[in-house]
Amino acid sequence: MSAEAPLLVVKDLSVSFCGDEGLVRAVGGVSFSVERREIVGVVGESGSGKSQTLLAIMGLINSPNAIVSGSIRFMGQELVGLNRRALDAIRGRQIAMIFQDPMSALTPVHTIGNQIGEQVRAHEKASARAARARAVQLLDAVGIANPGRVVDAYPHQLSGGMRQRAVIAMALSCNPALLVADEPTTALDVTVQAQILDLIGRLRDEFGSAVILVTHDLGVVAEVADRVLVMYGGRFVEEGGKTSVFRAPLHPYTWGLFGSIPPIDGARPARLAAIPGAPPSLSNLPKGCAFGPRCAYRHEACLTLPPPMEGNEHRAACVLPEARRREINIRTTAGVEMRS
C-alpha cells in the first residue's frame, strides 16, 4: 500500500430505509478504504447491500425514506450530507459510475454522443463540437469499431455490449479518479464480459483510475481485482488481498461461496455444494452474526453480537479463532484449486 492517504475512506456507513416493516438496514455500518489505482472487488449475493453501498458513495440514494449515516471521505472531502451543487461538481468528474443494466441506463431519446457530451460539458468548458469529438475519441478508446457512426446512434440501435461500452465511455469522459462499477458484466454475454473486464483492467493503466467493482461473480473478481471484500447481510465479513482470500478464505460464508463453484478439473461432483438456507431478510437480521443461522460451525458466541473484523491485511468477521478456521478450511477445500 502506498504512503499517501487513501483515495476513498468509508467509515461506519449505514443505509436504512423506512418501510412498512419498520426500519430496514440495507447497509449496516461498513468501513473500508480504496487506494489510488487500486481495483477492489466487492462480492456477495443479491440483497447483501453491495449496490446500496455504491449508490451511497455516488450520493444517488435520494428516496425520502432513506437514511444514510456514517462517513464517506473522498480525497479528504466528506460526501455524506454534501449539498447537491458540491456533489454535482464531484460526481461525473471525480467519481463516475458504471451501471448494471446497459439496456435501461441510457436515455432513449438522446444520441450516445449527446449523452457523453452532456457530461463533458457539465464539468469542462467545451464547445458542442469539442464535446462531440471527445465522445468519438472515448468510444474509440472503449473499443467500439466505428465510433463516428455510433456517436450519432440512439441507444436502441446498439447491442447490449455496445451500450455497456457507451456507458463506460461516458463514465470515463472526465478521467475520474474513482470508478464505481455495479455488476457491469452481469447483463452481458460471456465473450463480451471478458472484453469489458479487460477494458476495466486497462482503465487503471491508461487513465490511472481506482475501481470499485461490485459483482456476485467470483470469476470476475479473480480476473481483475487487487483486493476482495466479501459482503453478507449488509456487512463485510471478509477483506483481504485477492490471492490471500482466494487461496485461504477465512470466513465460513466465503468457504460456501468457493464451494459453490464447479471445479475446472478433477472428478465432477454429483452436486455442487450449496449454502443451506436463504439470505437473511434485511428487516429481520439475526442479533449475532448474520451468517450464523446458515453456518455449519456456529456456537453460542455467534448468536449474541455480530463479530468484529479481526486481522491485519487479511481480515474476517468470525468468532472462531483464526488458527481453527485455517485448519477447517484446509480440510474442507482440499482439492479445490484457485482458479485465477
Binding site: 455516488m58 461538481a89 461525473g92 451501471f99 435501461s104 441510457l106 432513449p108 438522446h110 457539465a122 440512439y154
Partner: protein
Amino acid sequence: MLAALGFRLGQMVLVMFGISVVAFLIFFATPGADPSARIAGRNASQETLAQVRHDFGLDRPLPVQYGLMMDRLFVSRDLTSFVNRGQLVVPTVASAIPVTLSLVGGAAVLWVLGGLVVGVIAGATRGTFIDRALMILSLVGVSVPVFWLGEVANLLTQSRWHDTWLFSWVPPLGYIALTEDPWGWFKALIIPWITLATLYVGLYGRVLRASLIEMMQEDFIRTARAKGIGERRVLLHHGLRTSLVAFVTMFGLDFGALVGGGALLTEVVFGLQGVGKLTYEALQTLDLPMILATVIYAAFFVVLANFVVDIAFAIIDPRARDVR
C-alpha cells in the same frame, strides 16, 4: 423516411374515402331515413315525393348517388342545403373553419403551456403542498362543465362587471376576423380560449405529472444524476423529454376532435359561428348535405391530426422512426 410519409398519406386518403362512404350510407341509405320525405315536408303526396326524388337525384342507384354527392361536394362545390334552399354548403362550412381554428388554436396554445407548467411543477414538487394544491386545482378544472364556466364568464364580463375597469374592454359576443382587426380578434377570443383551455390544462397537467413521476424512477435518470448535471437539467432534458410521448398523443387526438366540431359548447355559449355550431344546427333540422359536409370535414381533421402526431412521434422518439 419519404416512402414512409407517402405510405401514410396513401393510408390517409383511404381512411377518408371509407369515412365518406360510411357517412353517406348512414344519412342516405339507412332504412327509414328517406331524405326525400324530409325535403318534401310532412304529408307530401306521392307525386311531390317522386318529383323531389328526381330533382335531387335520389331515384338513382346508390353508387351513382354517392358519386354525384362527392362531385358536388368536392369538384363543383355547388351542393345546396335541403333546409335553406339556395344556401351553398361548401362556402358555409369554409366560412366557419377560421372561427373554429382560431378558437381551438388559441386555446391549444394556452392549454399546452398551462399543462406543461402545471405538470412539471407538480411532478418536481411531488408530495409537497404545491403539488397537492395544483392537483386539486386541476381536478376542479377538469370537473367544471365548459358551458357553465362559459356562462359564468359571460355573466361577469358581459353583464355584471362589464362596466367596471376590469372587463370594459370585452367586445360583445361574436367573432371578429383576424384579417380585419387582429387586436379585436384577440379581445373577442381570449375569454373563450381560457374557458375552453381550463379543462385541458387540468387534464394535461395531471397526465404529464403522472408520466413524469414514472419516468423519474427509470434507470436512465439515475445515470443522468450520476453525471453531475443539475437536477433541473435531469428533470427537463431527461425526464420531461421522455414523458412527452403521452402528452403529444393526447394533444393530437384532442386537437383533431375539437377542430372537427368538438368545441360545440364553447361556440354556442360565446356565439361563435364555428363548425361545431354549424353541425349542431344542421342536425336539428336534419339538413343532410350540411351534415355530410361537416362530418367529412371533421373526419379530415381527425385523420390529419393523427398523421401529424405520427410525424411528431418520429421527431420526439427515435425508437418510433425505426419501427415502420
